[in-house]
């Protein structure tokens, strides 16, 4: 079987499984909306302040929602033994992880990106800011899934794995957060924000290229 066919099969399989449990996906989205709604309650409804912190708050909320969904990447497959069968497919394990990352992104990052403008409106972001926010989320959320896959693989079956996952992964997310919210802030400040966006894209290329192989290595440790 070619690596490409295997990659596509894994994506189709994971999307099919996600569709079977679509309630779980909704939970992540509702969490994202809730976190974003809590900040105005804490800070107050002053429009100017809200529009200033809006991009940052939405990015942090997106990161937390992603973190919440990370254990789903490998946990269920590991528990019922299908992860072993995936590793035993006649194709590279890195392609399997890459497929899972893409499926995870399609089921978490893309919905977040699509719903973010609605929340952005609540924070009084103008349309060009909303556009930039969507662009950064679109490019940045695959990085979250990719880097997160390494953490999820390392903590498979480990005591207090989910807590540990947050500790391992959140520091790695810092650059994505900085460039993601930075690009929107740059647009708000009258710049075009392309510099941050291209740096984000560079990080995306690097992490999507390297993460699957490192995560595959970590998965093999969990299955051994």
């Amino acid at each position: 079987m070619s690596s490409w066919a295997f990659f596509c099969t894994v994506i189709r399989r994971d999307l099919f499984l996600a569709w079977q449990q679509r309630g779980d996906l909704l939970v992540g989205l509702v969490f994202f909306v809730l976190v974003a709604c809590l900040f105005p309650l804490a800070i107050g409804p002053e429009a100017k302040l809200l529009s200033r912190i809006g991009p940052g708050v939405l990015w942090v909320a997106a990161i937390l929602a992603n973190l919440l969904a990370l254990p789903r990447l490998f946990q269920a497959d590991w528990q019922d033994g299908t992860l072993e069968q995936l590793l035993l497919a006649p194709a590279p394990a890195g392609m399997m992880v890459a497929g899972k990352i893409v499926a995870h992104w399609l089921t978490t990052g893309v919905p977040l990106t699509l719903i973010a403008p609605l929340l952005g409106v609540q924070y009084g972001l103008s349309s060009d800011l909303l556009l930039m926010l969507m662009a950064t989320l679109f490019i940045g959320t695959p990085v979250l899934s990719a880097l997160g896959s390494i953490g999820a693989a390392l903590t498979l079956g480990v005591r207090q794995g989910d807590m540990l996952l947050a500790l391992l992964v959140l520091p790695l997310y810092a650059p994505v957060l900085i460039f993601g919210s930075g690009a929107v802030a740059a647009v708000a400040g009258g710049l075009n924000g392309y510099a941050e966006l291209s740096l984000l894209a560079a990080i995306a290329c690097g992490s999507l290229f390297l993460a699957p192989w490192l995560a595959a290595m970590a998965i093999k440790l969990a299955v051994e």
């Binding site: 079987m1 399989r13 499984l17 497919a89 006649p90 394990a93």
Partner: protein, 206 residues
């Protein structure tokens, strides 16, 4: 066909087995025995290529597993402790995706034919979580019959099966060996009616 050459394994600082060597020809069936924790599952995982021995090597048709890489996986079926079934999906869907992942997509008729062989035709659209333990095992065993592959690695395949199902599985193993396949299995039970089975008992190194 498969040659185990002086392999050794340890778990942490505890040696499991060392200097283990044996060779299997087409048609051989090996029954791995030994006390709990002796490393039977570890050995099966090494034979499947899921992990590497600490010393020695395993050869498949004269080539080391480390050289064969992922292509070797196309030669074997591995049935682990866990059934590798999705609880939410039906046996039909499970087998469909299992064969897709294994790189041999089957037609609907072929999947149904396989499920009929393991006696799950009536349950083929029920979610796996509503099946009994024995039926789940059958759903897992369906993978072996779905695509012909020479090497079967079975970890405790008889657990949870009733006597008729056990003798059926024994029949499948016999057929597989007669057609030139190799079976390596672990079991704490007496094996039902398998011809030409060789017992191999693992012992702790001194």
């Amino acid at each position: 066909m498969i040659l185990i050459d002086q392999i050794a394994a340890q778990r942490g600082d505890r040696p499991l087995f060392s200097n283990l060597s044996f060779a299997l020809q087409a048609g051989d069936c090996i029954h791995l025995r030994g006390e709990n924790g002796i490393g039977k599952t570890s050995l099966l995982k090494m034979l499947a290529g899921l992990s590497q021995p600490d010393q020695g090597q395993i050869l498949w048709q004269g080539q080391a597993l480390t050289e064969l890489g992922d292509d070797y996986h196309g030669q074997l079926h591995y049935l682990g402790h866990k059934d590798a079934l999705k609880d939410l999906l039906s046996p039909y869907q499970n087998l469909h995706w299992a064969t897709q992942i294994a790189g041999n997509p089957l037609s609907e008729a072929a999947i149904l034919h396989t499920l009929a062989k393991v006696g799950l035709l009536q349950q083929c659209d029920l979610p796996v979580r509503s099946l009994s333990q024995g039926q789940k095992k059958r759903a897992a065993l369906a993978r072996l019959l779905a695509t012909p592959r020479p090497l079967w690695l079975l970890d405790e395949p008889f657990v949870a099966l009733d006597t008729t199902a056990q003798s059926e599985l024994g029949e499948w193993i016999n057929n597989h060996c007669q057609q030139g396949g190799i079976v390596i299995l672990t079991s704490h039970q007496q094996l039902p009616s398998i011809q030409h089975v060789t017992e191999l008992t693992l012992t702790r190194p001194l």
